[in-house]
């Protein structure tokens, strides 16, 4: 498939922020082949909030990984800001993951050796060399501290992940995803491991980020009630888009 960058925007008339077009992905499983995505189209407008919903195994997390450049599609492509990004060299994809894409996972995925503040700073640690960090470090720390305080974790800056509750860890993970000022936030079942109250709190945070800060968000969930908080819902079933 050889689509040109910008093709999607020509089709939609308005430039998409993030777009997947005809993506296919299959994995080897046992002796056979498991087709997880069978030609999925997806589009996120700047400032949009889209939920991807589907049952387990429907391919929603795989789609998120492809759009987050953690994996490459077997066919089709991914565009970010009108530029095809899935076939870029590894170094440029690494840079895009660091600067343009923020990711939040169901299992929080915080680094256990680092405290809350350091976890939030992790993308900036990855971005800067030691000398650059000596120049930029103070500003970065102030920004990370500000984010944690905004999410009600001002008292927990130096607590290790094992000392935080699930909701707190997820808020740290969201702060980490936002500290690098990404163009899009990809959230994979962010409330999946949380109790109802904590989950609602996380969801409120995401909605506020979208509405107040204009952050573009893709939210993957299997819960229809959560999915309804988004502007648009994309339903996946058996590796295909069932409805939009």
């Amino acid at each position: 498939m050889t689509e040109l960058p910008g093709q999607a925007s020509r089709q939609t008339g308005r430039e998409s922020l993030l777009e997947a077009r005809g993506v296919r992905k299959s994995y080897r499983s046992g002796g056979g082949r498991l087709d997880v995505l069978r030609g999925v189209d997806f589009e996120l407008q700047p400032g949009g909030f889209v939920s991807v919903i589907g049952q387990s195994g429907s391919g929603k997390s795989t789609l998120l990984h492809l759009m987050g450049l953690l994996d490459a599609p077997d066919d089709g492509g991914v565009w970010l800001g009108g530029e095809r990004v899935d076939d870029l060299p590894a170094a440029r994809r690494d840079r895009l993951r660091n600067t343009a894409i923020g990711m939040v996972f169901q299992a929080y995925h915080l680094l256990p050796e680092l405290d809350a503040l350091e976890n939030v700073l992790a993308p900036l640690y990855v971005r800067h060399s030691l000398s650059a960090w000596l120049r930029e470090g103070a500003a970065a720390r102030a920004r990370a501290r500000g984010l944690l305080e905004r999410f009600g974790l001002g008292e927990r800056l130096h607590h290790k992940p094992r000392q935080l509750s699930g909701g707190e860890m997820q808020r740290v993970a969201i702060a980490r995803a936002l500290v690098a000022e990404p163009r899009v936030l990809l959230a994979d079942e962010p409330t999946g491991n949380l109790d109802e109250e904590s989950g609602a709190g996380i969801l409120d945070t995401l909605c506020e980020l979208n509405r107040r800060d204009g952050l573009s968000i893709v939210l993957v969930t299997h819960d229809a009630a959560i999915a309804r908080r988004a502007d648009r819902i994309v339903r996946l079933a058996a590796g295909r888009v069932e409805s939009v």
Partner: protein, 529 residues
């Protein structure tokens, strides 16, 4: 930045990895200690070899030597230029040393070396190894009136005492002569009473007394040159008074005259003041064996048993005269060799090569002191090299430990690796974390090894004493090694090589785990439990 941060955090939190570097620490410490001790031994050995040999030895291929050492020394000075600090001629011949112990004759094969007492000490460290303080300052072949060291002057810690040397010299000689006189008188009385010697031992003693009679023991003085040792010998034709006169003085190696008992005390078979007989070849062709009686005036102790139980020093002029090495017509002497001492900082090999160009190789052998002891020094170097290879294997084995533990850590940290990749870390960056971690561990292991190694090296004699006290066994027996303490020298360059090698092994061991970590797929890594 994240690589540094995570390396540091892993170092502080992963104790299992620190355990893996214990073997690096032990390997580095062992290598430092072994190298320091070997270097100490090697240095002691070289010092002692150098103590007997001057920087360059200029010698004849023949036992008869070469004539006119003065002319040779001038030629050597001309060829070597400003590098010469001092020169002294020597004559060395194989000989047999005989002395009596409790009525029994003990005979030993020795190297009989004639030295110039005024200049020899300038060309080598010979003087340092004598037992009389005055002789250490200026060697004399005249018997001293007591004052020999009863404590080993070369032992920094109080070593085994030598009580037998107290009173050695003239007091001992007079006492011995008096005792012999009394014993002989008693024998004569018994002989008068019984009509002649009855016991075999008596007959032996008579034979000894006859042999040590100066009138029969000394070869005729047939050269016309003035004898520098005339004062030290009785006048011809006159019976010698052994209580007040001595024969030509000699300085045997201490190993020829003593042994160390199991309490560490040196026991002497003969003492300064005793007379001994030496048999050696003349310089003519064919050589004939001649004997003479000499008086021990001191002992030489280089702590190299090869020298201490082989060398006997004698005034060169006396030896030249006895061997017939002085031309009866011209009075010009011959010598075997010339010992050349160079100024500090002079290039030994350069001077040796200049001298080799100036003198025909068919007549003279010119070598540095290192050349002379080449096989021994090479053997020590080889021993050190083999030991280092073996010990480095220990560190290499430690490398495999690091490899295994790092693989374990990579598996344990798989999800963290996925997280870092999701945050934009490159594969090279991930590999860098583990390589950096290996480097940190190597530095910690080698640093701890350095500290431990230096601590052991600097306290090795205390540790030896503690082990000996605890076990009741001698760990380092001075009677075997002739050192009273274990000598150590720490060469900074060697230590740096050891540390660099250990760190390199730790980093190399982390390469494979680092590659594995770098190749992890981020999605699979994130799903890892």
């Amino acid at each position: 930045m994240y690589k540094l941060l995570l390396c540091w955090r892993y170092l502080r939190t992963r104790w299992i990895a620190l355990a893996s570097v214990i073997s690096v620490t032990l390997g580095v410490a062992t290598m430092i200690v072994v190298n320091a001790v070997m270097a100490g031994f090697s240095n002691e050995m070289q010092t002692r070899i150098h103590g007997i040999l001057s920087d360059i030895v200029f010698e004849s291929h023949s036992l008869s030597g070469f004539q006119d050492p003065q002319w040779h020394m001038e030629e050597i000075r001309r060829a070597a230029g400003d590098s010469i600090a001092g020169m002294t001629p020597t004559v060395a011949v194989p000989a047999m040393l005989s002395f009596q112990v409790r009525g029994q004759w003990v005979t030993r094969q020795v190297m009989f070396i004639g030295i110039d007492e005024s200049s020899h000490a300038q060309a080598s460290d010979f003087g340092r190894y004598l037992q009389h303080p005055e002789n250490r300052r200026q060697l004399s072949f005249l018997l001293r009136d007591g004052g020999y060291d009863t404590v080993d002057s070369q032992a920094e810690a109080p070593g085994p005492t030598r009580p037998a040397l107290e009173g050695a010299g003239w007091p001992y000689r007079r006492m011995r002569v008096e005792r012999e006189r009394l014993w002989r008188e008693r024998q004569e009385e018994q002989e008068r009473a019984t009509g002649g010697p009855t016991r075999p031992v008596d007959r032996q003693v008579d034979a000894v007394l006859a042999a040590t009679d100066p009138a029969t023991a000394r070869p005729p003085a047939d050269d016309a040159r003035p004898d520098p040792f005339k004062a030290a010998r009785p006048e011809e034709g006159r019976a010698m008074d052994p209580a007040n006169e001595q024969f030509t003085g000699i300085v045997p190696g201490i190993g020829l005259a003593s042994f160390r008992d199991n309490t560490g005390v040196d026991r002497f078979l003969v003492l300064p003041g005793d007379d001994v007989k030496v048999t050696f070849p003349t310089a003519g062709t064919p050589p004939k064996a001649v004997s003479d009686t000499f008086t021990i005036v001191d002992f030489y102790e280089s702590k190299m048993s090869e020298y201490d139980s082989n060398f006997v020093f004698v005034p060169i002029a006396a030896l030249q005269r006895m061997r017939g090495m002085i031309d009866p017509q011209t009075g010009i002497p011959s010598v075997n060799s010339i010992q050349v001492k160079l100024r500090d900082g002079a290039d030994l090999d350069l001077v040796r090569d200049r001298l080799r160009k100036a003198f025909p190789a068919e007549l003279y052998a010119i070598s540095t002191w290192r050349d002379k002891q080449g096989p021994l020094l090479s053997a020590v170097d080889m021993e050190m090299a083999v030991l280092n290879i073996l010990l480095f294997m220990i560190v290499a084995v430690a490398g495999f430990g690091i490899l295994a533990i790092f693989f374990m850590i990579v598996v344990e940290k798989t999800r963290d690796i996925g997280i870092l990749k999701s945050l934009g870390a490159s594969s090279a960056g991930i590999a860098g974390i583990f390589l950096g971690y290996g480097l940190f561990l190597g530095l910690v292991g080698a640093g701890a090894g350095l500290a431990l190694g230096l601590a052991i090296t600097w306290n090795i004699n205390r540790i030896r004493a503690a082990v000996e006290w605890f076990t009741g066994e001698r760990v380092f027996d001075p009677s075997i090694y002739y050192f009273f303490k274990i000598p150590t020298i720490v060469h900074p360059a060697t230590v740096l090589w050891i540390i660099a090698g250990a760190v390199a092994i730790a980093v190399t061991a982390s390469v494979l785990p680092a590659i594995r970590a770098a190749r992890l797929h981020p999605v699979e890594a994130l799903r890892h439990d």
